[in-house]
């Protein structure tokens, strides 16, 4: 069954995109990741214009992070104060990001920047995850390994504008979460991701937040940052396709539930190394496209009148 996407301006197979939504949904349920960093490249591979893929994926992430954040909120796992500081940075970053996005689109370099950002971030995250999970697997086999130090003091704790975050039991400079928020906001706008895969490690390792608070608080921030991206992309670049978003949402919601249930029964660390391999695979494919000589050195694009 075909459906014509009015903003992407092409006709796609309904079941293919429902399936993609479900597939990424299963992964996000299994691993507790947003899935944007897999969905956006998949959409681009499937022929959706990168600008539409990025903006529409932001719209989908709003929905998936709302249901996640609500669940964490009920369990009291959201540090509202930390979330708001991250959010302030996120709003600044994503507004900046959407503006840069439009600028790069005009210069004809947006595809390159999207792909390059993915290669860099997927490469780093995939490699770190793989190393982490391989270490964890070997620790499981050899019990009695050293425990990581909970809290380390370094130059980051000497920064000004200190703030107390009671829920996270932290007394740190507000500049830290603020700058993490800005960085993640820029990434959200340019890459069409929630940014959880950057923010969660940053919150654990840079801020030293308790792990239980991290996911709920990052989801809280992601809702509003991706909402800002969706709104600005729709308003300034007209690149949000609600038909496409609905397809991905429907598949994603079902997939995430299946994934969550399956995740409880499967070995966690082996799964994590599998996800790392998937991430590295997507990264390699995108890197190949940047580095290999293209089949055709020339590309064409319509100059849009109102752009």
């Amino acid at each position: 069954m075909q459906i014509y996407l009015p903003i992407a301006e092409l006709s796609v197979n309904v079941f293919l995109f429902l399936g993609m939504g479900a597939g990424v949904g299963v992964l996000s349920g299994l691993f507790g990741v947003g899935g944007g960093f897999l969905m956006t490249p998949l959409l681009i591979f499937a022929g959706i214009p990168p600008a539409v893929a990025v903006a529409t994926e932001a719209n989908q992430i709003v929905a998936s992070s709302v249901s996640g954040a609500l669940a964490h909120w009920r369990r009291g796992n959201v540090d509202l104060k930390m979330g708001i500081v991250l959010l302030l940075g996120g709003i600044v970053g994503s507004t900046l990001g959407v503006w840069v996005f439009g600028l790069l689109q005009g210069l004809g370099q947006i595809d390159l920047v999207i792909r390059a950002s993915y290669v860099v971030f997927l490469g780093i995250i995939g490699a770190l995850m793989l190393i982490e999970s391989l270490k964890a697997i070997s620790r499981q086999r050899k019990p009695g390994g050293k425990r990581r130090k909970l809290h380390q003091h370094n130059w980051l704790h000497g920064l000004p504008f200190k703030m107390r975050f009671r829920r996270s039991k932290l007394y740190i400079s507000a500049l830290l979460p603020l700058s993490i928020g800005i960085l993640v906001g820029i990434l959200a706008a340019i890459m069409g991701v929630g940014g959880g895969f950057i923010m969660v490690p940053a919150m654990i390792y840079l801020l030293g937040m308790p792990t239980a608070m991290v996911v709920g608080t990052s989801l809280f921030q992601i809702i509003f940052v991706t909402a800002n991206v969706t709104f600005l992309q729709a308003w300034q670049n007209q690149t949000v396709d609600i038909f496409l978003a609905l397809l991905l949402l429907t598949g994603g919601v079902i997939g995430a539930q299946l994934g969550t249930r399956a995740g409880a029964k499967l070995p966690g660390e082996q799964l994590r190394s599998l996800l790392a391999l998937i991430v590295l695979g997507v990264c390699a494919r995108l890197a190949y496209e940047l580095l290999a000589r293209p089949d055709d050195l020339y590309s064409i694009g319509a100059l849009v009148g109102h752009g």
Binding site: T230, L291, Y298
Partner: protein
């Protein structure tokens, strides 16, 4: 820039009509489409129109050209920079038909000289468009790249369509439009050729338009973009809340 293309087209049409008035060209062709509107609905997956017509007088060859609305196209060339392939040079062509499809009884290059084909814009090598100014020797390569790019999108089908001739008088041809057919006003021109000359031509308009829900969504997204953004958000927020509520109970 699109205007120049239209003026050019009008001019060539006027010349053609002037040519028709001369008694030597008493030949005439009449043709029509099975439909003058292609409705791009939500379930649109490409379509097929039938063009049919009749030739008056002696046997002649028929060429049918479907031209989409003119648009400005930027052609970019990648260059290797620090190991990465990056867009470096670009040229913009004006009045480029968004869609171009040719059908003919014989391959056009066997029917007339390049000069004649170029004058009428018959064949992928002769599509009339506004060439960029200030371009150097790169122009032909960029132009060829434009055609290739359009072909990759399926908008300039490489294979010529078939025309069925019945008793050297009646002809018919199926014209296929892919699912990504651009919207706008098209011109379907039927040329009658004999002895290397275009002896008659007739142009029929065709409108490709989004209709139904998709059309309204597109119009709304462009006319009230801020409101559209809020609507998209409301949908996502509701969907997220709804999914959470349903699966919490389950």
């Amino acid at each position: 820039m699109g205007r120049i293309g239209i003026v050019g087209l009008r001019l060539s049409l006027a010349l053609m009509l002037a040519g028709l008035a001369r008694p030597v060209f008493a030949q005439a062709v009449v043709a029509d489409l099975s439909d003058h509107l292609i409705a791009v609905t939500t379930g649109f997956a490409g379509t097929k129109l039938l063009l049919f017509g009749a030739i008056e007088g002696d046997a002649a060859d028929v060429v049918i050209v479907v031209r989409g609305p003119g648009e400005d196209i930027m052609v970019r060339r990648k260059e290797r920079l620090g190991g990465i392939w990056i867009n470096r040079h670009n040229l913009t062509f004006g009045g480029v038909p968004a869609f171009y499809r040719l059908a003919s009884t014989e391959p056009p290059e066997t029917l007339a000289s390049n000069r004649i084909l170029a004058r009428h814009g018959i064949g992928l090598d002769h599509i009339s468009m506004v060439q960029p100014t200030g371009a150097n020797g790169d122009l032909p390569t960029f132009r060829a790249a434009l055609i290739r790019g359009k072909q990759r999108l399926g908008l300039y089908p490489e294979e010529n369509g078939q025309i069925t001739l019945l008793g050297n008088r009646l002809f018919r041809s199926d014209i296929f439009f892919p699912s990504n057919v651009p919207t706008g006003t098209y011109n379907v021109t039927v040329y009658l050729l004999r002895n290397g000359k275009v002896i008659s031509a007739q142009t029929t308009p065709l409108v490709v338009s989004k209709v139904g829900v998709g059309a309204r969504v597109f119009a709304f997204a462009h006319s009230h973009s801020a409101l559209y953004g809020i609507a998209a958000l409301a949908m996502a927020l509701f969907a997220g809340w709804f999914a959470g509520a349903v699966f919490k109970r389950a």
